[in-house]
């Protein structure tokens, strides 16, 4: 019973969004968005697509891929050391990331702005990619450490007896057995990049490196009262991830559960 009420709360805004995005600009202010559009039109979608939506999407995809690559490339060896190496330094490295979980991005955005400007990265995709990757690392390291810990010591022992190097153990044993944790990290990092708003807002300004979230934000001033076009842009922004959800719902939800939140 209660679930039906919540169903309505979820569905009504989504339905209104779809319906309004298919309504012509001329009828938008006279009708109620809850009524089905009388003469559905794709004009609003054309408006959005002709306003650089593809460019925003490809920028966001570049950021997401780069962030995932950086996060995996740095976090996997780190977690591997934290689990396998027994010295003071590895413990310290791990603690740094434990503390790092508590650093909110909002808190460092002012000094980061300064750093980005000093590095001559302001208003470039790198200005978004690097901090986004850094802030996705703590959770990623924790997830990977948790997964790598479950790899049995005996297996390492067996490989050591065969004279395997630490590199070989990482690539032939640890990584294949930690697939679950790695896919969690990929999903988490990609979502962070996909949904990130604060870093693009502060570190970029021109059209060139503009990403999707910021583009949506800019449509507010660009489209003004053209609310149907605005809603069409929201629908379009949701399509890629919605597709992933339809195709790989289990993997996506499993990955999110793996992060234990965020």
């Amino acid at each position: 019973m209660g679930s039906m009420i919540w169903l309505a709360i979820v569905i009504v805004p989504l339905y209104a969004m779809l319906s309004a995005s298919l309504t012509g600009q001329d009828k938008a202010l006279t009708g109620n968005p809850l009524n089905p559009p009388t003469s559905p039109t794709l004009d609003n979608y054309n408006t959005v697509l002709n306003n650089g939506f593809g460019h925003l999407l490809s920028n966001t995809a570049i950021v997401a891929v780069a962030v995932v690559a950086i996060v995996l490339g740095l976090s996997v060896p780190l977690a591997y050391v934290a689990v396998r190496t027994r010295d003071r330094w590895s413990g310290l490295a791990f603690r740094l990331f434990l503390l790092g979980v508590a650093i909110p991005a909002q808190a460092v955005v002012v000094p980061l702005y300064l750093l980005i400007a000093e590095l001559n990265l302001y208003d470039s995709l790198l200005a978004v990619i690097l901090p986004t990757a850094a802030f996705a690392m703590p959770v990623s390291v924790l997830v990977l450490v948790g997964t790598l810990r479950d790899v049995s010591e005996d297996l390492y022992e067996a490989m050591a007896l065969d004279g395997a190097s630490p590199q070989r153990m990482l690539f032939q044993l640890a990584v294949p057995l930690a697939k679950g944790g790695i896919s969690t990290v990929v999903i988490y990092a990609a979502l962070q990049a996909w949904n990130g708003f604060l870093f693009p807002l502060i570190f970029t300004q021109s059209d060139g490196p503009r990403v999707l979230t910021l583009g949506l934000f800019n449509y507010v001033s660009q489209f003004g009262v053209n609310i149907p076009a605005l809603l069409a842009s929201v629908v379009l922004s949701g399509i890629p991830i919605f597709t992933v959800y339809l195709v790989a719902r289990r993997a996506l939800i499993g990955g999110l559960m793996g992060v234990g939140g965020k």
């Binding site: 919540w6 805004p13 027994r86 590895s90 979980v101 909110p104 948790g146 604060l198 939800i253 499993g254």
Partner: protein, 320 residues
């Protein structure tokens, strides 16, 4: 959905296992080859961790220190920061907007917690059951979480537009309306996620308990309050910590929906900091607010974990 591979929670990793040798959990095999103690052969050098540590330090830890440093300076982004001692901090303590903003942030977090926890708990317990259509409805319930905060804020910005939207009243124009709108929009976005957490927790509760209660003649609501709720203690902790940390991310929602308005009535701390820094170019004062934010967030997280105990967080793992 089936549970994925065993997953860590933040605190499971706090056992400083990384530094102390882990005793083998299984008794050593009786084969002559395996040594009882883990060998030192084939362990990676700690330097492998260096690139990641340096990268993270440069973009997160160093800026953190810089933020504290800048909070003792006056700086408009041009030239060099000028040391001003405790000026910013004194201003912070005496700033009416700051007091209002702090109060507002606490209130928003509390209101969101009540709204999201009650609904997510009920939905999660429901979704863990065996009703018809459960899978389909669960899949639909999750959809809002797929949209970014920006997209969701825009969606409600449009739907709450008095000239266009569902409700032909200017909700965002009144202080209470704007506040409640932010609570609602945040809930709309994050309840799906917390529902998932509670669903996982509720699935772990042994059926035997309910069967025993049914034999004793306990009704459904009695079962909920005497079995389900106590069994979900740790799940509530996990979900709460995530909600509190997550409430800092309401920045997008506030920026798009209300711009902190009407007046400054929805200017939560992160938003106030953004305005001071990137609208007024008062980076010193913005840094003081940011530093305060970190101290408050860290203190709150520690307090929550202290109140509920690490053990609680750790055993939440089973609830995932």
């Amino acid at each position: 959905m089936t549970a994925p591979t065993p997953t860590p929670t933040m605190t499971r990793a706090t056992e400083p296992k990384a530094t102390t040798p882990t005793p083998p959990t299984k008794p050593p095999k009786s084969s002559p080859k395996s040594s009882p103690k883990p060998s030192a052969v084939g362990r990676p050098h700690a330097a492998w961790a260096l690139p990641g540590v340096l990268f993270f330090a440069f973009f997160a830890v160093v800026p953190m220190g810089l933020a504290f440093y800048l909070s003792f300076t006056s700086w408009d982004g041009l030239g060099d920061p000028r040391p001003v001692g405790l000026d910013n901090w004194q201003r912070l303590v005496n700033d009416d907007r700051m007091v209002q903003s702090l109060w507002l942030t606490v209130l928003l977090t509390a209101a969101s917690w009540v709204f999201q926890t009650v609904i997510a708990l009920l939905l999660g317990v429901w979704a863990a059951g065996r009703q018809r259509n459960r899978a389909v409805l669960s899949a639909i319930f999750f959809v809002p979480f797929l949209l970014s905060s920006t997209a969701i804020a825009l969606l409600f910005y449009a739907l709450l537009d008095p000239n266009f939207g569902i409700i032909r009243e200017n909700i965002l124009g009144s202080s209470n309306g704007a506040f409640l709108a932010i609570v609602f929009v945040g809930g709309w976005q994050f309840i799906p996620f917390h529902t998932l957490i509670y669903q996982g927790g509720a699935r772990q509760i042994p059926d035997v308990l309910y069967q025993a209660a049914a034999i004793d003649g306990a009704g459904r609501s009695r079962q909920f309050f005497s079995i389900t709720l106590p069994q979900l203690r740790h799940t509530v902790t996990t979900s709460t910590v995530l909600m509190v940390v997550g409430s800092l991310t309401y920045f997008e929602t506030v920026l798009i929906l209300t711009k902190g308005g009407p007046g400054t009535d929805t200017a939560i701390l992160p938003y106030l900091m953004y305005e001071e820094g990137f609208k007024s170019y008062d980076f010193g004062y913005a840094s003081a607010i940011a530093s305060f934010l970190v101290l408050a967030a860290t203190g709150l997280s520690l307090l929550l974990v202290r109140l509920t105990g690490f053990g609680g967080m750790r055993s939440t793992r089973e609830g995932m």
